[in-house]
């Protein structure tokens, strides 16, 4: 799958509080560091495999180890309405 942000949803730096937040219509949430690492790679062009590869390079970890976590993370963000597929 190729995740992108749902309409009206975006990731934004919250400088005053030293964190990143996901802003959506009438709500916001603070992603944990793992979700944040994934969300920063969501651009509507990278598919799931490309995100896994980028994270593997970034954290110097084997892709097989990361893949399961990324899949679960994307599923969670999808069910929360923050992301869409395609």
């Amino acid at each position: 799958m190729t995740p992108r942000f749902a309409p009206g949803v975006r990731l934004q730096e919250d400088k005053a509080r030293g964190r990143w937040v996901v802003l959506a219509p009438e709500r916001m949430f603070v992603p944990d560091e793992h979700a944040l690492a994934v969300l920063r790679l969501v651009d509507g062009a990278r598919d799931e495999a490309a995100i896994v590869a980028a994270l593997a390079a970034q954290f110097d970890a084997p892709a097989e180890v990361i893949a399961g976590d990324v899949r679960a993370m994307l599923a969670d963000l999808l069910s929360r309405g923050a992301l869409r597929d395609g």
Partner: protein
């Protein structure tokens, strides 16, 4: 250290082609000549973002009644704010949406005759329908904002159906809150307990029926409650409002209070938020008299709404009469008993 606010409510004008009898604007409406300029709002948005606001609600009146509306939205986005447009949608054109992230569109009733009677504008419903199509056509998320009361509650199922038909992903079903114009028209607007219970039942059923397709936010009127709402999440804790003439307020309704508020023409948002006595006055729990002082709910509801307390008791420090522990709680039951007229006074410039 004072926690920074999360959102700015920018009431860019009081002008509006509609005349809703529950309008949250003050009874004394500000005129166009007194409004902040484009440059002044641009500075306000930058200051809000620097202070820690993540979102701006561009509201009014009707914010798009300002000729510089597209510039205002652009300035808010440039400042890094998430831009939420709160509009009646009767004069929306594509350029107004270029720098908007989300649109909240008000509807006064599900059908034309009722909508025209309540909103006071001929032909508004068709324009709103077109506005919804425009918003959705741009791929922007849409929330329908349905203010409900005695005159339109019987159409609640149709209002929810309208949200689906117009492509909204959420609907806010908000019972009128009674300050300003709404307080003046309370007898025509306040629902009975039975009407409220029926509305709550309809909302619960619709939430189940449309789960995953339509989110429903529900704001209940506290006239039938035994605890007040945590108004604005507590005085000067999360929200900051700026009026059309630049008054910096902890909430848009606070203009009704006999207090001295700072103005963006004389000071910065940060100085007001962190240091002005009006902001410090009801922040936290130290100001509270009995029965709020020491109450276990004090940090949950913050003693309720200052505007409602003042409007109903004449005392700024009073416990919100919506609380069953307030000595004035009976006032609400009296108002409910007296409600039931059909006539109301549309909002107007005095």
């Amino acid at each position: 250290m004072v926690e920074p606010p999360l959102a700015l409510l920018a009431e860019v004008t009081h002008r509006c082609p509609l005349r809703c009898p529950y309008c949250s604007n003050p009874v004394e409406l500000a005129r166009a000549s007194e409004e902040l300029s484009t440059d002044e709002w641009t500075r306000v948005f930058a200051e809000a973002a620097a202070l820690g606001c993540l979102q701006v609600h561009l509201s009014g009146g009707e914010p798009t009644a300002r000729r510089d509306f597209p510039q205002l939205a652009a300035a808010a986005r440039r400042a890094g704010l998430y831009v939420n447009l709160i509009t009646a949608g009767v004069a929306l054109v594509p350029a107004m949406l270029d720098d908007v992230d989300h649109v909240q569109l008000s509807v006064q009733d599900s059908e034309e005759a009722g909508a025209e009677r309540i909103g006071g504008m001929r032909g508004a419903q068709a324009r709103k329908r077109a506005a919804a199509a425009l918003v959705r056509g741009r791929g922007l998320p849409l929330t329908l904002n349905a203010v409900v009361h005695r005159q339109n509650l019987h159409h609640l199922p149709e209002l929810i159906a309208l949200a689906l038909e117009w492509g909204a992903s959420r609907i806010e079903v908000a019972h009128v809150q009674y300050y300003g114009w709404a307080l003046a028209n309370r007898a025509a607007l306040l629902p009975t307990r039975a009407m409220l219970d029926e509305a709550t039942r309809i909302v619960d059923a619709a939430r189940l029926a449309h789960a995953g397709r339509l989110a429903i936010d529900y704001v209940v009127p506290d006239y039938h409650a035994s605890r007040p709402k945590a108004c604005m999440g507590g005085w000067a804790r999360r929200f900051l409002a700026v009026s059309p003439t630049g008054r910096i307020l902890p909430c848009h309704a606070a203009e009704t209070l006999p207090m001295d508020f700072p103005n963006v023409r004389d000071t910065t948002l940060r100085a007001a938020w962190e240091g002005h006595p009006a902001f410090a006055r009801f922040r936290g729990t130290a100001w509270m008299p009995a029965p709020c002082a020491g109450c276990e709910h004090a940090e949950r509801d913050w003693g309720g709404c200052r505007c409602q307390a003042f409007a109903l008791t004449g005392d700024l420090h009073a416990t919100d009469p919506a609380c069953a522990l307030s000595a004035h709680h009976g006032l609400l039951a009296d108002a409910v008993a007296e409600a039931g007229t059909d006539g109301f006074r549309p909002r107007a410039f005095s």
